[in-house]
Amino acid sequence: MNPIVQLQGVSKKYGDFAAVDGMNLQVAKGEVFGFLGPNGAGKSTTLRMILSLIKPTTGSISLFGLDLHQHRNAILGRIGCIVEKPDFYLYLSGLDNLRLFGRMSHTRQLNERIETVLHLVGLKGREKDRVKTYSHGMKQRLGLAQALLHEPELIILDEPSTGLDPQGIIELRNLILHLKNDLGKTVILSSHILSEIEMIADSMVIIHRGKAVVQGKVSELLSHEDLQVDVQVDDPAAAETALHESRLGHLILERIPGALKLRCAKSDIPQVARLLTDKGIAIFGLQATRSLEDYFLRITASPEKADILAFK
């Protein structure tokens, strides 16, 4: 692994309270890295420490192989970010804001770059309007444009889908995948929409009470997890009985009108379908949902269990 971001034993304490406690973290070059955690877990503090907005109490942070404390300006020149929410100078136009931050970040061929990012985020045509007239979703797009303006190698996006409409969320997802796949960028993505992380992140960390309780490849972490399967049938009671008789009753989570909810491995699904069909029960639909949400809730509810699952 060639880590582009590395945190070693990083802590941030406010008096006796540790907002971040001995955090170890590695983000590989060229991946989309998901940052998960409940409110107050230390997610935002960690991201701010990576961006040198907050100074760690202990530990070391290095990016691109350089120590953040010693090479702060050089490192920040290679990062684009949205922290918490995209706030801009409201009395200026979107274009003026981009020009201003473009000059600060030493963006080359600024006008061309502004045109490119405006097209990329879908703000072309509104760039001359004052930011105070923008909706939250438009500010979010402007935030993305600003983050991408100077062609950074690492992009840190804190809750970037907040305020976006469903179409905007899909565009954002596609944009992140474009950044990773076509431009070779590394993206750190913090989101409370777990399905987003599941769909686009290669690796992830779950932070709880200031500690990284789970870190690893999303596919590996979730392959250990059961699916939740909604089986829509004509007779849920008969289906429940059939599963109990076949010693598969332990898979049942609950019976709801018109369906059974199961928790099972992916490999169990064909067996369940076959059994119900053999018993003459009509199956109208099988919907497997996952899983990251359950996983996340389970981990954050009892972080001690996470040690067993951790990939470190």
Partner: protein
């Protein structure tokens, strides 16, 4: 640094509140000049009525020099508020609007960002003083013509030849710039400590009013404090119209003002470069 300074100046220039100071100065100066033009004779008679019992006053006393002196004396009291409006908002305004996160994740040291803000504010203060000088002297001479300047103090009457006044006004404006720079750095320092843009402006004015009251009251206890208050030295511009000039006192006051600027800047840099950005 050049880029950062240009950006800070651009932000000040595009912020509507930056023009409040210029508008206020324009309105007040023009009002004073208009009032003196219409009714200046009776105002002057009122001022000179005690003198006329002992002296015979002749010539054009209501001239551009006197009008400029009256304007300077009147407006210099209000100027700190106009300066605090901008300087008090420099850092806290960025924090309140959330732009500080974006600003401090750019590839520039925090110190250079604060230097740029300080220099931009100094330029703003200079332009305010310049505008005041231009309106006061320009308007004064245009409407009232030239003449000797009569400065009436509590215990003496000073008459300065017309040819001897312009450099004194320039020096007075220079000292006023230094005084207002103390206010600017004081507001900047408070601005570094809070995320609320109104707080530093109000706090700056509260401190200036408090210090001014202490400086005005003739109480023995306060007499020991007065030399250490920056407000005591902010009015040293008036000494430029003394005859003879007490250069020792003027330079001492100027050094004390410079010391305060350095002190407030030092505290600002110390805090700002270490501050955790939480909001």
């Amino acid at each position: 640094m050049g880029t950062l300074l240009r950006i800070e100046l651009f932000k000040i220039a595009t912020k509507p509140r930056s023009y409040i100071g210029f508008a206020a100065i324009t309105v007040i100066v023009l009002l004073i000049e208009l009032a003196l033009w219409l009714d200046g004779r009776s105002y002057l008679e009122f001022i000179l009525q005690a003198l006329e019992q002992s002296f015979q006053v002749q010539g054009n006393l209501l001239n551009g020099n006197l009008v400029s002196f009256i304007i300077l004396q009147t407006l210099i009291v209000q100027m700190p508020l106009l300066v605090a409006l901008i300087a008090g908002d420099l850092v806290s305004g960025e924090a309140a609007s959330g732009t500080i996160r974006l600003l401090l994740t750019q590839p520039h040291s925090r110190a250079s960002i604060l230097w740029a803000k300080y220099f931009a504010t100094s330029i703003y203060v200079f332009l305010l003083i310049f505008w005041l000088g231009l309106l006061a002297l320009g308007g004064g001479f245009l409407l009232f013509g030239a003449g000797d300047l009569v400065v009436l103090k509590s215990d003496e009457l000073i008459i300065l030849k017309a040819a001897d006044t312009l450099w004194r006004f320039m020096a007075a404006f220079g000292i006023a710039f230094l005084s207002l720079s103390v206010v600017a750095t004081f507001s900047l320092m408070l601005s570094c400590y809070t995320d609320n843009s109104i707080g530093p402006i109000i706090a700056s004015m509260a401190v200036i009013i408090l210090f001014t009251i202490i400086g005005t009251l003739e109480v023995p206890l306060f007499d020991r404090i007065k030399p250490f208050l920056f407000t005591t030295h902010m009015i040293v511009w008036r000494s430029m119209f003394d005859q003879p000039l007490d250069w020792g006192a003027i330079l001492r006051s100027m050094w004390i003002l410079v010391f305060h600027i350095a002190l407030f800047l030092g505290v600002s840099f110390f805090h700002f470069t270490k501050k955790d950005i939480q909001n």
